[in-house]
Point group: C2
Chain length 90, copies 2
């Protein structure tokens, strides 16, 4: 969970996640949408991947990134758990 919150603590990375929310994108496609060098963007992809928030697949020289919705759900569950621990008791 630590890596997830660390990954979320950056506006560029949060915007990347938003772009990946509805469809996958290539590294290059994502990179050109930001005012930042490709190596910097590549670093952000690495942090997101380390947190398991995104998954990647290679096709030739191109890498496609996609949101890992499972981990997004895990974060949601963490927040629900913060306050909602008793509602299962009837």
């Amino acid at each position: 969970m630590n890596g997830v919150f660390k990954a979320l603590n950056d506006p560029t990375r949060r915007e990347i996640l938003r772009l990946l929310g509805h469809q996958e994108h290539t590294a290059g496609d994502l990179a050109e949408r930001f005012d930042m060098t490709k190596p910097s963007m590549s670093h952000h992809f690495a942090v997101l991947k380390e947190a398991d928030l995104i998954i990647s697949r290679r096709e030739g020289t191109t890498i496609y990134y996609a949101l890992n919705t499972t981990v997004v759900q895990d974060v949601m569950a963490w927040f629900l758990d913060l306050t909602g621990s008793d509602e299962g008791r009837t």
Copy 2:
């Protein structure tokens, strides 16, 4: 939203939020549950307050902290928005 994610990016602060999930606690009560000095804990309270994740009230020399559930809901909404933008269309 930036301050919220920044505040969440620390295990001590996340544990504080968890402790405040079900009832309010005083600064001193919270502080003694962690292996950290009071000034360090006070700093964490300040970051959480800056993010509006907690609210405080003073009673004499004692300060009580409580979770601000409104902002917690805002974060949840942010995550829902990440993937779920189309479900309102029928």
